[in-house]
Structures are given as structure tokens and as C-alpha cells.
């Protein structure tokens, strides 16, 4: 009898487990790895005391339209902290940004800003990214130390993924 109950419990567990496999991963998707974004600098250990972001630099997901490095979401406010001493990568007049993905969402657009200036926008028309994604973006008339905000706007949700990259343009 005990065995039967145990078996029944096991098969329930197996069914529940397979349900979870189908729906569990839902939080994590992508970020810019080079030049290193703020979350990449946290994950690589270059910047210390970043909190949970070190485990999931790909998870900076929030509603579309924000100009904040954490997307204005409830997590990862450390990314907005300008006093954190973020290292800036030395770059030229054009910069190639490289993305890392943990899930390849259907994509509306990719946008790159410095402040309120839109540097570039790429329309993927709902396509899924390939294995990797790179964009080469002109820094316009900006020079010196700047923070580039990249937004990956997902096609089939209301959300975007945010990455801030600190650069010194020369």
C-alpha cells in the first residue's frame, strides 16, 4: 500500500516536473558583452558588490521606453548608480556592440542612445536573432566619456532588455 502511494506520488511528481520544464525558464534573455556593459562588468567581477546581477546579467528586462540602465524595473537599481566607478572602454568614432543571448526572442527593434539622442535603430521586423548579434553604430559628434544605452525591444511582449555601455570616445 505504502509502495502504491509512493508510486502514485512519484508519477504525479514526474508530471509536475515535465510541466515545469515546459514553462519554468521565463526571466533571462540577453545583454551586451563587448564592449562590456555595466552588467557584464558586474558578472566578470571587474566591478564589485553588484548584487544578484552577477548571476544573471541577461535579466535586465522591463517595460519598453525607459532611459534608465536598469530599464526602470524593480531589480538591479545598482546599474543606475553613476557613482559606482564603471570602467569605460576606449572606442573610436564607430563602435561594434556584441550581444549574448540566453533566449532568442522575436525582435521588433534594437535602439542605441546617448542621453536623449538616438544614435541608431535597427528594425528586425519580428525576426528571431541568430546565434549571435552585432551592431556597428556611429557615435556621431559625441566625444569623451559617455554612456550608451542599448534597448532590445521584444516583438511579442511589452518588454525590452536594457544594457548600458560606458565608453571613452576618441
Amino acid at each position: 500500500m505504502r509502495r502504491r502511494i509512493a508510486l502514485a506520488l512519484l508519477s504525479i511528481a514526474a508530471v509536475v516536473a515535465s510541466m515545469f520544464v515546459a514553462i519554468a525558464p521565463a526571466s533571462a534573455h540577453g545583454y551586451i558583452s563587448s564592449p562590456p556593459s555595466r552588467q557584464a562588468n558586474c558578472a566578470s567581477g571587474k566591478v564589485a558588490n553588484c548584487g544578484d546581477i552577477v548571476w544573471e546579467p541577461q535579466s535586465v528586462e522591463a517595460a519598453k521606453g525607459s532611459k534608465l540602465c536598469n530599464g526602470g524595473g524593480s531589480r538591479f537599481a545598482v546599474l543606475n548608480d553613476a557613482s559606482k566607478g564603471w570602467p569605460a572602454a576606449s572606442v573610436g568614432r564607430t563602435v561594434t556592440f556584441n550581444w549574448v543571448f540566453t533566449a532568442r526572442h522575436a525582435t521588433a527593434t534594437w535602439e542605441y542612445f546617448i542621453g536623449n539622442t538616438l544614435l541608431a535603430s535597427f528594425n528586425d521586423g519580428g525576426a528571431q536573432p541568430g546565434a549571435t548579434k552585432s551592431h556597428t553604430v556611429s557615435m556621431g559628434s559625441f566625444t569623451g566619456r559617455q554612456t550608451v544605452l542599448a534597448r532590445w525591444n521584444v516583438a511579442d511582449t511589452a518588454n525590452a532588455f536594457y544594457s548600458c555601455v560606458d565608453v571613452t570616445i576618441s
Binding site: L10, A14, A17, V21, S33, P35, S44, V54, A131
Partner: protein
């Protein structure tokens, strides 16, 4: 009358014997290891991630230019082989399938989004320039997914050895993520 009592006694004795035998079949001194659905999911998903990641490692072993990337992929390959054996042994011991039920949609539906697709492997194999950068980016994304599943086990799992393995895997993979991030900055910044 005494005969009937005797028969009754014999019947009771037989029943007692039977129930004793039934109890004997249960390993009473060693209770079966307790595990839950998160343990099973962690093991099944990690095995699937190893299967997918192996293809990147095999390709990188022959094509990577950077010596550190080669060293890292060789070390990861050896670690995965060992982890795979342990994880399969536990699932088999629990009479659980080694892979999630395909009809659950794990391989066709949303779960697939957090996987390396065959097209990603094909793209890596077809890469002519910047093979190392592509392999590093693919591995980074993949290892982040591995870490996420390990951390899920650390918080939601029940079987202590599986939780310990998950802790160790998360720490090791995170170290590899850190090295890959440094490598990637080096290889793409110079390009």
C-alpha cells in the same frame, strides 16, 4: 471447537508471517532518498544542456585559435562528462526518465527558447571570421542558462547531494563565465 481455534490460530500466524515478509521487503533501516520535482527537473534540464553544449565544445576543440579558450572548453568537457554520469545515475535510481517527456512541449514549446538551436550550432560551424568570438558568445549564453537551472535547484531542490552538485556547478560555471567575458572583450576589442 479446539480444531477450529487451531485453524484460526494457524490462519493468524500465516497472516502475521505474510505481513512480516511484506515489511521485510521494505528497506526499513535505509529510507528511500527523498527527492522532489525540482531535483528531477534540474537533472533532466542539465543533461539536456550538456548534450547541446557538447556540440559547441567539440567544434571549439578543433577550431578555436585562442589557447585559453581551448583550455577552458577541454576542462568544461571533462567536468560535464563527470556530472553527466552522476546525474544519470540518480535519475535511473529514482526510476525517472533521463529526458523530460517530449509531449510536454519542453523541446517544441517555450522551453526551447532557452536552448541552443541546431541552427546556432550550424552557424558556429559555418563561421569563417571570428570563430572564437562566436563560440564565446554562444557558450556565455549557454552557461548563463546552466547557472540559472543550478540556482533553481539550490533553492527548490530536496535531495542534498543534488543540491550540493548544483552549488558546485553554479560556482564552476560562473568562473568560466568570468573568463569568457574577459576573453570576449579581448578578442572583439582588438578586432
Amino acid at each position: 471447537m479446539t480444531r477450529m481455534i487451531g485453524a484460526g490460530r494457524r490462519a493468524i500466524a500465516a497472516l502475521l508471517l505474510l505481513s512480516l515478509a511484506a515489511c521485510g521487503a521494505q528497506p526499513r533501516s535505509v529510507p528511500p532518498p527523498a527527492f522532489n520535482s525540482t531535483d528531477v527537473m534540474f537533472l533532466q534540464m542539465s543533461l539536456e544542456y550538456i548534450r547541446q553544449g557538447e556540440q559547441v565544445l567539440t567544434t571549439a576543440q578543433t577550431r578555436a585559435k585562442n589557447a585559453e579558450l581551448k583550455t577552458l572548453t577541454a576542462a568544461l568537457q571533462a567536468q560535464w562528462a563527470e556530472e553527466q554520469g552522476t546525474m544519470q545515475r540518480w535519475l535511473l535510481g529514482w526510476s525517472q526518465p533521463l529526458t523530460a517527456d517530449p509531449s510536454s512541449g519542453a523541446h517544441e514549446g517555450h522551453g526551447d527558447l532557452h536552448s541552443l538551436r541546431p541552427s546556432d550550432i550550424a552557424e558556429l560551424q559555418a563561421t569563417k571570421d571570428n570563430f572564437d568570438g562566436t563560440a564565446e558568445a554562444l557558450l556565455l549564453g549557454h552557461l548563463h542558462n546552466c547557472v540559472e537551472v543550478s540556482r533553481m535547484e539550490s533553492t527548490g531542490g530536496q535531495y542534498p547531494p543534488a543540491k550540493a552538485l548544483a552549488e558546485q556547478m553554479a560556482a564552476t560555471r560562473q568562473g568560466q563565465v568570468q573568463r569568457l567575458l574577459k576573453l570576449q572583450t579581448g578578442s572583439t576589442m582588438g578586432a
